[in-house]
């Protein structure tokens, strides 16, 4: 993953950030990401991000749990160790419900959290480039990716007009990494040279 160049605009208020996102996008700049200290409803839509499919994943995990429990219990009672308990039915469905329910919830929850970490590429010990340490405190940080056609000064000036309080340029590897840069990557500076 290559190191890229980013123009970073910091906003102090989410009410300034919202129109700014729309204007930056309609001006044709590619917003790499917006970092906020808390979830801002509607920002994902404003950024043009698609809805997450995490719910669907959760549903599939849940169904897997249900199937595992029902199949497992019936297999134990009817195949592996056939038990006749007081002449009761071999598949005592009501008695299987509690464990089936618990396993459904367990599979769905564990699976979803794992998928969440996977999709967000977060895990214990992962380090990511922090564009602005205050974006987990009180600053809303908009990061615009530069290409070879980008005029950095122009982007900076544009960000200024849409209300960014503090603008700077950073070079960073903003993808997935375990705390070490990829040695064989082509650095942005070298790409330009």
């Amino acid at each position: 993953m290559a190191i890229k160049k980013f123009v970073v605009g910091n906003f102090t208020d989410e009410e300034v950030l919202f129109p700014a996102v729309k204007r930056v996008r309609s001006a044709g700049y590619k917003i790499h990401d917006v970092y906020t200290p808390f979830p801002i409803h509607g920002l994902d839509t404003a950024l043009g991000l698609r809805q997450t499919s995490l719910h669907t994943a959760g549903f599939i995990y849940g169904i897997t749990g249900t199937t595992t429990a029902l199949c497992g219990i019936s297999w134990v009672f009817d195949v592996d160790w056939l038990m006749n308990i007081g002449g009761k039915p071999h598949i005592p469905l009501p008695a299987m419900i509690p464990i089936t329910f618990e396993l459904t919830v367990l599979f769905a929850a564990v699976g979803m959290v794992y998928t969440f970490c996977w999709l967000c590429q977060i895990a214990p010990g992962v380090k990511k480039h922090v564009f602005n340490p205050r974006s987990t405190d009180d600053t809303f940080t908009m990061v615009i990716e530069c290409t070879e056609h980008t005029n950095v000064e122009e982007v900076k000036a544009f960000l200024h007009t849409v209300g960014a309080a503090d603008i700077n340029v950073q070079e960073a590897e903003a993808g997935w990494w375990w705390g070490t840069y990829d040695k064989e990557q082509v650095l942005y500076k070298e790409e330009l040279a």
């Binding site: 970092y35 200290p37 994902d44 005592p92 929850a109 564990v110 974006s135 987990t136």
Partner: protein, 483 residues
């Protein structure tokens, strides 16, 4: 002001004082970043001492067997299962506050959910101890887990409520832990980015999983929180329902009643909220978080306490009525001869006083909003709820169907009490450490409600409410469309 941020001023602010986003981080992270007070060390030491007493009690239990406890024929369950059910019940408020109130969009949960979730996890950890050590030969405790085994095959009995408990409690613990920790990630990232020392930077760096606050992350985070809440809400109800089935599927008079599941769930929420009150009243004072855990929060929880207390009261009276109405002599005897009267009469009436009569005082708004009174009540309710479980278990067991096996005397040994004290020590040790190293209030969630429910922002809403309709539409509605 944006119309999106409008919230009626009839609602009390959720955050008091002049706060902005930075101030919120400052206030909540400060207790973690400064040296703890002397009272923290004193509290932790007492908790650790209790814990050690518990460890020694367990050591004796494992060495000499559970004959160390004063259980007998017919009282095969005593303090152990009483404590188990009590702790599981306490563990219910956290997920309830987090999940059910999240689904119902209750803004006031934001101030208290983190501490309550942590409490849940520690309480379930304590609860899990009792059935495990009650097995006696604890080294074969893994027998309860189903796995393709070399023992015959011998499988656990999936029809048994005690096995359902194993699944319910372990699922509940896992899901609560995931819910709590995934919610902690953004706040740990805040701590990481504020950290000054190297150790703190690396500790919170590892713990925050590399959270960056990206919009896409937040989007997934919210989806995750909502679905986990949707899963945990019925889970809370199922766990205590299953615990109640341990009793309700048996044939013991006083146990096999159909009212048990809802009655136990209400009782669990009742005692859980009481424990949240105990902890939060202390926490807000000691950590100086009165602006975030306001009287309004305390009052809201007291309202839940009076509601669930009344449900529990109703359940007690229903049990008495049905014991009489069913015409079942054993049931009648259990309630009218051995609970209302009999050698354990003091336990029954302690339960009635603490759980049914005293919470009714919370109908008075003045008392609901009184911190000292709330604190005392929270302890009273927890004592009452402990007695509820004791009454159900012991007063039903000590008089069997056969008068020849009646046992009139059961009193715990010091090691039984020691075990219980040990779990209280474990609970508070965990809570003290949590309060020192993790944010007790969800920083990001407070920020999300700050502009609608912060006191200084509400003043703006007051002005908005005084405007005439025409002015209001002109200033706000058209402005919103302009965006």
């Amino acid at each position: 002001m944006s119309l999106l941020k409008y919230e009626s001023t009839l609602r009390e602010p959720l955050v008091d004082g002049d706060k902005d986003y930075h101030q919120v981080s400052e206030d909540i992270c400060r207790p973690i970043e400064v040296k703890p007070r002397k009272s923290w060390y004193v509290g932790l030491s007492i908790a650790v001492l209790l814990l050690l007493f518990g460890v020694y009690s367990i050591y004796r239990d494992v060495t000499y067997g559970i004959g160390q406890w004063n259980l007998n024929r017919t009282i095969g369950w005593g303090w152990d299962i009483t404590n188990f059910v009590w702790w599981v019940g306490i563990g219910h408020a956290g997920t309830l506050i987090s999940a059910i109130l999240l689904l119902f969009r209750q803004g006031w949960r934001t101030g208290v959910n983190r501490a309550a979730e942590a409490m849940t996890i520690f309480a379930v950890m304590c609860a899990g101890q009792f059935p495990i050590w009650h097995m006696g030969r604890v080294w074969i405790a893994f027998f309860v887990m189903p796995y393709p085994n070399t023992r015959g095959p011998v499988w656990p009995n999936f029809n048994s409520p005690l096995l359902w408990d194993v699944f319910a409690i372990s699922t509940y613990f896992t899901v609560s832990l995931l819910f709590w920790y995934s919610g902690l990630l953004p706040d740990l990232a805040t701590l990481r980015d504020r950290a000054k020392t190297k150790f703190r930077k690396s500790f919170y760096g590892i713990a925050s999983f590399g959270w960056s606050g990206s919009t896409k992350h937040w989007q997934r985070f919210e989806a995750l929180a909502l679905v986990l809440a949707g899963l945990s809400a019925p889970l809370v109800l199922s766990v205590h329902t299953i615990v109640s089935m341990d009793f309700a599927t048996s044939v013991i008079p006083g146990w096999h009643t159909q009212i048990f599941p809802p009655y136990f769930v209400a009782g669990a929420i009742f005692s859980g909220f009481a424990m949240v009150q105990t902890l939060l009243v202390i926490t807000r004072k000691v950590l100086g978080l009165e602006d975030y855990i306001t009287i309004g929060h305390i009052e809201a929880m007291n309202k839940v306490i009076v509601m669930t207390g009344s449900i529990v009261g109703c359940a007690y009276l229903t049990e008495l009525f049905i014991a009489w109405y069913s015409g079942n002599p054993y049931e009648y005897a259990a309630f009218y001869k051995y609970r209302i009267a009999g050698p354990y009469v003091w336990a029954y009436w302690t339960m009635m006083t603490c759980n049914v009569i005293s919470p009714q005082l919370f109908w008075s708004a003045k008392l609901r909003r009184n911190i000292q009174f709330t604190f005392i009540m929270s302890v009273v309710v927890n004592i009452g709820m402990w007695f509820e479980r004791f009454v159900i278990i012991v007063t039903s067991l000590y008089r069997d169907y056969l008068p020849s096996s009646w046992s009139t005397f059961y009193r715990p040994t010091i090691w039984e009490v020691g075990f219980f004290m040990g779990t209280i020590g474990l609970f508070f040790t965990c809570y003290f450490l949590f309060a020192k190293y993790f944010p007790v209030i969800a920083v990001a969630e407070i920020k999300a409600v700050l502009k609608t429910s912060g006191e200084n922002y509400k003043r703006g809403m007051e002005k908005l409410e005084q405007e005439s309709v025409d002015e209001f539409i002109h200033n706000n509605v058209s402005h919103e469309h302009g965006h």
